[in-house]
C-alpha cells in the first residue's frame, strides 16, 4: 500500500514538472490578463492617469448599451459574418469539389486556391487597397473598360465593407477547401458505386451521398469560419482605418480604438469581456445544441424502433 503511494507521489511530481513551463506561461500570459480584464471592466482605468482609477461597477457596461458607435461596430461585424460565413463556406466546398480528382497536375490547382491563405493578411490588404483605388486601381480600370463610372470602393461608405468582404472570402476560402477536401476523400467509394448501380444522377449522388457524408466536417468548417470572421480586424485597420464614417469598424477594432488609441482601458476591457462572453455563450449553445440533437435522435430511434 505504502509503495503504491510513494510511486504515485513520484508520478505526480513528474507530471507537474512536465506541466510547469505551460503553467507558468499560461498563468502569466492568459489567466492573469483574463482576470485583469474582468476586474478592469468595472473600473474607469485610464492608462495616462492610472492613479486616479476608481471602481465604477457597471457604468462601462451601461455606457456601452447607449454607445451608438459600439452598436454600429456590432452591426458591421454581424454584416461581415453573415455574408462571409456562408459565401466562403460555399466557395470552399465548390473548390474542394473541383480539385477532388486523382488526375495529373491537380497539385497545382490546389496550390493556386491555397496560395492566398499563405499570403499574409497585411500583404493582401495592401495589395487590394491599391486594386480598389479610385485613380489607377485595377477594379476601376476594369469598370471603365465596360463603361461604368469610377466607384469610390473603400472611400464609399456603402461599399467599403463589401470590398473587404470580397477580399476576405478570396483570401480565406482555400483554408476551408483543404478541410472539405479531407472530408470528401473520406467518403466511402462503395456508396457511389452502389448509387451507380441504381443509376443515380450526379445531383442525386451529391445531395444524398456527398452532403450527408460531409455533414460533420461541414459543421466544423462552419464553426471555424464563424469564429475567424468575428475577429476581423487587420483588413479594416490597414485598408480603411475603420472608416469611412465607421462603416468598417468592427468589435475588435473598437476594442483597439478605445483601449489602445484612446487608452481607456476600463471601457475597452468591458467591450473585451462582452466579446469573450459572446464566444463562451456561443460554444455553450453549440454544445447544448449538439446534445439536443443527440437526444432527439435517440428519442426518434426509440419511437421508430431504430428507423
Amino acid at each position: 500500500m505504502k509503495t503504491t503511494s510513494v510511486r504515485q507521489k513520484c508520478i505526480d511530481r513528474t507530471g507537474w514538472l512536465f506541466m510547469l513551463p505551460a503553467i507558468v506561461f499560461g498563468t502569466v500570459f492568459l489567466i492573469v490578463p483574463i482576470v485583469m480584464c474582468f476586474l478592469y471592466s468595472f473600473s474607469d482605468f485610464y492608462m495616462l492617469r492610472p492613479e486616479a482609477t476608481q471602481t465604477v461597477w457597471f457604468d462601462n457596461y451601461v455606457a456601452l448599451f447607449r454607445d451608438e458607435i459600439f452598436g454600429k461596430a456590432i452591426g458591421n461585424t454581424l454584416l461581415f459574418v453573415v455574408i462571409v460565413v456562408p459565401v466562403q463556406c460555399a466557395l470552399a466546398l465548390g473548390l474542394a469539389l473541383l480539385v477532388n480528382r486523382k488526375d495529373r497536375g491537380y497539385g497545382i490547382f490546389k496550390l493556386a486556391y491555397f496560395a492566398p491563405v499563405i499570403t499574409s493578411m497585411t500583404v493582401v490588404s495592401l495589395l487590394f487597397q491599391l486594386f480598389y483605388a479610385r485613380d489607377g486601381g485595377v477594379f476601376n480600370l476594369l469598370l471603365s473598360a465596360i463603361g461604368v463610372p469610377a466607384q469610390g470602393f473603400l472611400q464609399d461608405e456603402s461599399q467599403a465593407m463589401f470590398c473587404i468582404i470580397f477580399m476576405s472570402v478570396w483570401q480565406g476560402a482555400g483554408y476551408q477547401m483543404i478541410i472539405f477536401l479531407a472530408g470528401l476523400q473520406g467518403v466511402p467509394k462503395e456508396l457511389y458505386e452502389a448509387a451507380d448501380i441504381d443509376a443515380a444522377n450526379a445531383w442525386d449522388k451529391f445531395t444524398h451521398i456527398t452532403l450527408p457524408s460531409i455533414a460533420p466536417i461541414s459543421s466544423f468548417v462552419f464553426v471555424i469560419t464563424l469564429v475567424g470572421a468575428f475577429k476581423m480586424f487587420t483588413q479594416s485597420y490597414i485598408m480603411t482605418s475603420g472608416g469611412p464614417n465607421d462603416s468598417t469598424l468592427t468589435v475588435v477594432y473598437y476594442i483597439f480604438q478605445k483601449g489602445m488609441s484612446e487608452q481607456l482601458v476600463g471601457y475597452g476591457s468591458a467591450i473585451s469581456m462582452l466579446f469573450t462572453a459572446a464566444f463562451i455563450l456561443a460554444s455553450v449553445f453549440k454544445n447544448l445544441g449538439a446534445k439536443g440533437i443527440g437526444a432527439y435522435k435517440k428519442y426518434r430511434a426509440s419511437v421508430l424502433g431504430g428507423y
Binding site: 500570459f29 497585411t122 489607377g136 483543404i178 466544423f220 471555424i224 476591457s269
Partner: protein
Amino acid sequence: MRRKKILKIVFYVVNTLVGLLFLFPLLFMFLSAFNPARTLPTQIGSFGDFLPEYLTASNLVSVFTRIPMLKYFGNTLLYAFGTVLGVLVVNSMAGYALAKINFKGNRLIYNFIVIMLIIPFEGITLTLYLVVKTLGILDTPFAVILPSLFSCFYIFMFRQFFLGVPTALIEAAEIDGSGAFSTYFRIVVPTAVPVFITVFILEFIGKWGDYYWPMLTLTSETWFNVQIAIKEFSTASPYHWGTVMASLAVVTVPVLVVFLCLQKYYIEGIATQGIKDM
C-alpha cells in the same frame, strides 16, 4: 468511357480558369514587382501602364536599400524561430504529461485547457499589453515571443498525438532505468517528429504573417517585423507602383518557399486537426 473523358477535360478547363482568376492578384503582384515604370499608383491611367516594357530587379533592390529590409527579415526570423522553439518545448511537454502521465490533477488541467480553447486572443489583448508592459519587456523581442509560448491548441494537438504512442514503449524505457525526462526526450520525441513539424510550420507561418500584436508592442523601428515594415513602407511616402509591389512580393516569397517544402505537414495539420482558430 467517352463521358468520363469529356468530364476530365471539363474539370481541367474549369480548374484552369478558376485557378487563374484566383491567382490573378498574386501574379499581378509578382509581375509588377519587376515593372520598371516610374509611376505612382495614382498616375495609372490604363491597363497598358501595368504591363512592363521589360523586366528589372531595380524595384527589389530599392526595397532593400530604402529601408533596412534585411534587418526586418532578421527580426521576423528571430521572432518566428524563438516562438517556435519555445512553443515546441512548452506545449509538447504539457501534452505528453496530459496524455501519458497519470498525475493527480491531470483531468482537471485537461478540462481547463479545453475550456480555455474558446477564449479569443483578441479579447485579452488590452490587459495582455499591460502585463507585458509591467514585465518591462515592451518593445523588445520578448514582447512577441513570450506571450505566444503557451497555447491550449498546441497542447491539445500534442496530447492527441501522444495518446497514440504505445505505453509499453515508455514502460520498457523506464524498466531499463531511464528517468522520466530522458525517456521523453530520447524515446518519445523521436516518434513524434511529424507532429513537431506540423506545429513548427503552423506557428512559423503564423508568426511570419503576424501583424496585430507586433504592431501593438513593437514601437521602435529597429524591432519592426516584415509585416509592420511593409505597412509603413507603402503608406509612409509616395513610392513607385513597382516598388510597393516589390515590397509585398519580397515578404511573400520566403513563406511560400517554407510552405512548398513542408506542405504535406501543413495540410495534414489543418485538415485532420485544424482547429487552430477555435
